[in-house]
Structure formats: structure tokens, C-alpha cells
């Protein structure tokens, strides 16, 4: 895998992050160093190990699918700058 500005550009597009050219230039050597250290994990034998996504066993967690108390429309809109007719205004899809 080659860590260069092209790869960073690809990642930035996926991450929805506009990066300046100088930022990409700065990140290239840093990412080489960091990803190099991440590769150390390949030395660990995990052939018979299940991945762990939570450090303690979760105790169920799903509730009955019934509406509960939630924010009022007014509360949900209280931090919104652009709204119209009770809806949040966002950019066009395409």
C-alpha cells in the first residue's frame, strides 16, 4: 500500500472532509509513521479469536418498539439556523 496524496484524497472524499493541499502534504509522512506502527498487530495470532466490539457483555439493550418521550419539534429546531415550516433545511442531494 502506498501512502501518498492520492490515497489521502480518496480517504478524504469518503470521510466528507475538504482538505487543503498543505494538510495532505503534512499528513503523508505522519500517516506513514502511524500506519507503520499499526501494522505491528499483524504479528498477533488471532486465528481463533472472535472480534470484541464492547469490553463488557451487553445486557440486552433493546426496548420494545413503542414511541417514548422525545424532543418536541420546537426543541429539535432550537439549534437550527435554517428551517422552514417546522423542517430543517439542508443542501440539495445532488
Amino acid at each position: 500500500m502506498k501512502v501518498d496524496e492520492a490515497l489521502l484524497g480518496q480517504v478524504a472524499r469518503v470521510a466528507r472532509l475538504a482538505l487543503a493541499k498543505e494538510e495532505k502534504e503534512r499528513f503523508v509522512p505522519q500517516f506513514k509513521e502511524i500506519l507503520g506502527s499499526f501494522q505491528k498487530l499483524s504479528a498477533v495470532d488471532t486465528s481463533r479469536v472472535e472480534p470484541c466490539f464492547h469490553p463488557v457483555a451487553l445486557q440486552g439493550g433493546l426496548r420494545e418498539d413503542k414511541p417514548g418521550i422525545c424532543l418536541s419539534q420546537e426543541e429539535a429546531l432550537s439549534n437550527v439556523r435554517d428551517s422552514k415550516d417546522g423542517f430543517i433545511k439542508g443542501p440539495r442531494a445532488v
Binding site: M1, L7, L8, V11, A12, R13, V14, A15, R16, L17, A18, L19, A20, E23, F27, Q30, F31, E33, I34, L35, S37, F38, K40, L41, S42, V44, T46, V49, E50, P51, C52, F53, H54, P55, V56, L58, Q59, G60, G61, L62, R63, L71, E75, S78, N79, V80, R81, D82, I88, K89, G90, P91, R92, A93, V94
Partner: protein
């Protein structure tokens, strides 16, 4: 305690040290309870109703939550006075509280203003050290963000078991790693605050339904016969000799008080916890932060272009450099073609690391090491570090955080230059009581 005097003193301290992103000059305690008249500060990533809560990021500037985090609601209902929001690295992305968001101030160490408070709960630790009145901080740790600053600022900081305290109202950094905890000057305040904020919460499906002991009663329990596991690499190469000596002297005193010492080797934690932690934390951060896109709350610009153009622009303009770095690395670790080698591999190594700790707890009741390998560094020293060298500072704290184990930092003296040194005590899952019991003995000595 007179409210106006408290606020005035807090503002005075803040002018000098920048511990707060916001002080609520209209703060008022409501009702009475076990925290009546107690001043509580809240890390900026924990929502307080009506108070601007930004997690230290410009992308959340202006955001005023319309609800309290569960932990905040609990202390409020006990009569606490919520004084304001403390400084942190942006979203928790740092070990020194220097990675603050665009436009935020870096807090200065209470013992030496040329040095860092530690991060990411730096403001919480600094103010806990400086407040001339009784004060408890609600802080948060993902990879060491409570014990690191507590150690650097000479206060007590406890991070509980993952799930012990509800995360409802906590802005995620990495949801499988984030824990709300507390800082204070006394073990009594740590025990009281933990008793109040712990417990299952239907609003957080990852919170644990387990009884919460009377921690205050455990503080006075003798430690005779307690098995103390000394993490060998924690006192090895790379640890400042003055830090090592202070911790070793404390261990000796604990042995004199009746503890049995056991040497503990944690080879997987030593070698792999750091890369394992950073891959998982960054991968989770990159998804957790996807919601910040310049709509609904926080920074919002004139809507121009399509979804992707607008979101990318806002995120590019308002997120700081370390946030961008972690989002990028985390996105990379989850991308098709790399996911198995990075994200899934790290999740498997995490399972092995937890198993290694579980085996250690068959031999010892608690594990000890320094909290940090050195005392609070100077800002001029931090500036010279590459991001990777920065991450290495967390070598001792990422292990218990990855495994979701409760851990505390207690002050065990100062170095020749007068900078505080902290010892970390780690307990098994849900055994905050053991951790507090031992820490209380350290504090008394």
C-alpha cells in the same frame, strides 16, 4: 458558601489558567441533597441543558443542548451547583489538552504555566487542583483522559468500568471506549460522586444493570491481605526514574500496611494495546463524528452546493487538525480492502488483551503502575513531538481503557521540580470499590 464569591473566584482563576470554555455566571443550585452547596464542573463534551456544549470543537460552537446528560441530571437533583464547562482536547483527541478546537484556549498547568494540564480532561483536572472551595469535576476518558490530567495536576481522578455510568448526553469520541468519571481532591468526594452518577439507565443500552456499592464505606476498610499486582513494564524502561521511585516507594508502604505483592507480566498489553487502541478509537471516531456536518446544530453556514460539497466544506472549515487526522485514519481503517487488516484485526487483539487482564486478576485484586511515564511536559517539548510520538504518551493508560476496566490516579508526591506524580490503580470490571479502597489508603499515607 456564597455563590457570588465562588463565581468570582472561578472567573479569576480562569483568566489566568483557561480551565473553562464557559463559566455559567447565572449558575444556581436547585433543590437540596447529598451535593448541596458542592460546586461541580462538567467536561465540555457532556451536555448541560441550556449551556453551550461544544466538546471543545468549533464545529459545535453555539450548540445549546435541550437536555441534561444523565450524569448531570443526577448531580443536579442532589443539589449541586453546576458552574460551567471545562476545557478539553477537541472531542477528546489528545493527551495534553493542546489539541483544542479552532478558537479555544489551551489550559495551563496549575503548578507551572509553561506546562500542560494533560488531556483530554485538562480543564477538569486543573480547576480541581486550583479551586479554593470544595469542587468535583465530571470528566470523561476514552484512552486515559481522566488519569493522565489527574496525574499531571496532582488530583484524584477515577474512570469507572465501561457502562457503569450512563453515557446518555455524552458526545461520543469512540462509543465502545468512552466513560464518564470524576475528579476531586478527596477520596470521600470521589466515592460520593461515583455513588450518585453510577447505575443503569434505560436511555443508554450499554449501561450496566449492577448494584452500586456504598463506596464511602469501603474507603475505611483495611487493605490487609489485598493482593497488589505490580505491572512490570510500568516501572521499566522509558519511565522517568523520579516517577518510578515515587511509585515504588508507595508500593513499599502499601506492603508495610499488609498488602501482598505479585509481579504481573502483560506482554500483549505492553506491545499491542497502543496500536490496538488507536485503530479502534479512530475507526469509531470517524463514524461517531459523521453527524457533525453543519446542519441541525453547531456551526452552520449558508447552504450552498450539494450534500457532499456542503458537508465536506463545513467539516474542513471547523474541525481542527487532530480531529481531521483521526477521522482520516479511522476512515482508512474501515475502508474496503483495509478493514480486515486494521479494524477487525484490532477488535480481535482487543479480545486477547481483555483475556490477558482477566488472567492477571486471578492472581491479583488490583494492578498498579504509574499513571503516566513522566510528569507534565512543557508546551515547548510537546511542540517537537510528531503525532505518533504524541500517541506513545498513552502507553500506560490505553490498556485499562481498551479493556473497560475501572482505574484511578492518586497523587504520590512530586519530582524535584515540584511537579506532581500520579499512581494508577486498576481493578477488575465493576470493582471500583477495590480501586477506591486502595487509593484511599495511598492518600492517607
Amino acid at each position: 458558601m456564597e455563590l457570588q464569591r465562588v463565581l468570582k473566584e472561578a472567573v479569576g482563576i480562569n483568566d489566568e489558567f483557561h480551565f473553562f470554555n464557559l463559566i455559567d455566571t447565572r449558575a444556581k443550585a436547585q433543590g437540596k441533597g447529598r451535593l448541596s452547596e458542592v460546586v461541580i464542573s462538567v467536561k465540555d463534551c457532556i451536555c448541560v441543558k441550556g449551556l453551550e456544549s461544544t466538546a471543545g470543537s468549533a464545529i459545535l460552537k453555539g450548540y445549546k443542548p435541550v437536555f441534561d446528560a444523565t450524569a448531570v441530571g443526577k448531580v443536579r437533583s442532589e443539589g449541586a451547583l453546576i458552574i460551567g464547562k471545562t476545557s478539553q482536547d477537541e472531542f477528546g483527541f489528545g493527551s495534553f489538552n493542546v489539541n483544542v478546537g479552532i478558537g479555544f484556549q489551551v489550559p495551563l498547568n496549575p503548578y507551572d504555566r509553561e506546562r500542560a494540564c494533560g488531556g483530554s480532561s485538562g480543564g477538569a483536572a486543573g480547576f480541581t487542583a486550583k479551586a479554593p472551595f470544595r469542587h468535583i469535576a465530571l470528566a470523561e476518558s476514552t484512552g486515559g483522559s481522566i488519569v493522565c490530567p489527574a496525574s499531571f495536576c496532582g488530583v484524584i481522578g477515577l474512570c469507572p468500568t465501561y457502562g457503569r455510568v450512563s453515557r446518555y448526553g455524552l458526545m461520543d469520541y469512540a462509543n465502545s471506549l468512552d466513560k464518564i468519571g470524576v475528579m476531586a481532591k478527596t477520596m470521600e468526594d470521589i466515592a460520593l460522586a461515583m455513588k450518585i452518577i453510577s447505575g443503569c439507565d434505560p436511555k443508554d443500552p450499554t449501561s450496566l444493570d449492577a448494584p452500586v456499592p456504598d463506596y464511602a464505606a469501603l474507603l475505611k476498610k483495611p487493605i490487609t491481605g489485598m493482593k497488589l499486582g505490580i505491572i512490570s513494564y510500568g516501572l521499566g524502561k522509558g519511565v522517568d526514574p523520579e516517577v518510578s521511585t515515587a511509585v515504588k516507594n508507595t508500593i513499599k508502604r502499601l506492603e508495610d500496611s499488609g498488602c501482598t505483592l505479585v509481579e504481573i507480566e502483560l506482554p500483549l498489553v505492553e506491545k499491542y494495546a497502543l496500536p490496538c487502541y488507536y485503530i479502534l478509537a479512530m475507526a469509531e471516531a470517524s463514524t461517531n463524528l459523521a453527524k457533525y456536518c453543519g446542519m441541525r446544530y453547531g456551526a452552520q453556514e449558508n447552504i450552498e452546493g450539494n450534500f457532499n460539497e456542503y458537508f465536506s466544506k463545513v467539516r474542513g472549515n471547523y474541525l481542527g487538525e487532530e480531529a481531521k487526522r483521526r477521522i482520516m485514519l479511522g476512515t482508512f481503517a474501515r475502508m474496503a480492502g483495509f478493514r480486515d487488516a486494521y479494524y477487525l484485526k484490532a477488535a480481535k487483539v482487543r479480545a486477547k488483551i481483555i483475556e490477558e487482564y482477566k488472567k492477571a486478576f486471578e492472581k491479583a485484586d488490583v494492578l498498579v503502575s504509574p499513571a503516566m511515564p513522566f510528569v507534565a511536559p512543557k508546551f515547548s517539548e510537546i511542540k517537537r513531538l510528531t503525532p505518533m510520538q504524541n500517541y506513545l504518551a498513552d502507553i500506560l493508560t490505553v490498556g485499562p481503557n481498551l479493556a473497560g476496566l475501572p482505574h484511578i490516579s492518586v497523587p504520590v508526591g512530586k519530582n524535584k521540580g515540584g511537579m506532581p506524580i500520579g499512581m494508577m490503580v486498576i481493578g477488575n470490571h465493576l470493582e471500583e470499590g477495590n480501586v477506591m479502597q486502595l487509593a484511599s489508603c495511598v492518600v492517607e499515607k
